[in-house]
Symmetry: C2
Subunit: 209 residues, 2 copies
């Protein structure tokens, strides 16, 4: 089966809508984050090399390296979400007749649940980075395409909050509460202030239109 | 040139990031709206036919018709945004040597600016619908996939606010202020309460996890 990123946008949307369990919200979160990073890259690309923006040239070059790195990472996360979900389903499907089987299955589920918490947490972290970099694009980028920085922050925020939902689901079923609580605390840190930042960046963009 | 929806997800993201003017934030808004509709469809598809949810069966069937209709519309809007942008660029490129040419060019720009306001307004309207239908999915859908309804509302809201930015840009350059003000009033109506609704639906989902 080919990877989602290699499928057409229309096919991706069709599969997202289908009764198949994957791709689901976790992949959608990664796609939104990747769109955010891509739009910050676009603003950089349309600022670099313009005499009017010579002053921010090197800052935009640096920003572009960051945004492209995030775009690649988030594009890979579309698949990571599907893979870990499939793994989780497979572990729930393990035999549970004997006591040994039950113990093995439970152990396997718990191991995969930890991974299934870390995958959306990594997505949330990357989305949180896209919000930060969109601010620089909004502040210093070519004002002719500044609305794209506004879309970037909205997409990054939606990706962050979407990924958070998948962290909550899986962390909730983890028996190792110390691990789960650590992950939830990391998530809380990422979410802290994200809404206000998003609103600030959006307003900054709107005021420049 | 093939349509964006026919390109791979990765190719779409690469083009979004590039120095080409299209696709840009307008297309990204439509993709987010389409993801929202798709996820509501997914919740419907995974609720319909389950004995546990027999009571909401017909409501979910109706909801699925609406969500699939919105998904198709929003997928088409990815291209509509590119087309109207290209048309706008072409009209700015018209000759402006003689007074006649100047008048013709100005008339043409103003005509296309109206279309370039209506296209993102239609996208904003469709995204606003995706928020409404995601509430029903969150309230009555299969709780096993309820997080997908949460991602649906976030994607729809990000699409709405993103499309709004493109309405603002183009409406601002329209000389027919009555037309522009009417469109801005329509947009305001769509935005009214959208943030609170999104927050409510997100909380409802989070409480069910």
């Amino acid at each position: 089966m080919s990877e989602i990123k290699d499928k057409s946008v229309e096919q991706f949307l069709t599969e997202l809508a289908s009764r198949q369990a994957t791709p689901g919200g976790g992949s959608a979160a990664a796609v939104m984050g990747a769109q955010s990073a891509a739009l910050t890259s676009m603003v950089c690309n349309l600022t670099i090399g313009k005499p009017k923006y010579a002053e921010v040239e090197s800052e935009m070059q640096d920003l572009l390296v960051q945004s492209e790195d995030l775009r690649v990472k988030l594009t890979e996360m579309i698949k990571a979400d599907v893979d870990v979900f499939d793994k989780l389903m497979a572990s729930y499907g393990l035999p549970k007749e004997t006591d040994n089987e039950k113990a093995d299955r439970s152990l396997q589920i718990q191991t995969v649940l930890k991974q299934a918490t870390e995958v959306p947490l990594a997505c949330a972290k990357a989305c949180s980075e896209t919000i930060k970099i969109s601010r620089i694009a909004a502040e210093k980028g070519n004002t002719g395409v500044i609305s794209d920085a506004g879309v970037a922050v909205l997409a990054g925020y939606a990706g962050l909050k979407s990924a958070a939902l998948n962290v909550y689901i899986n962390a909730g079923s983890i028996k190792d509460r110390q691990f789960a609580d650590e992950k939830l605390a990391e998530l809380d840190k990422l979410l802290q202030g994200a809404e206000i930042q998003t609103e600030e960046i959006y307003q900054m963009v709107k005021d420049k239109l």
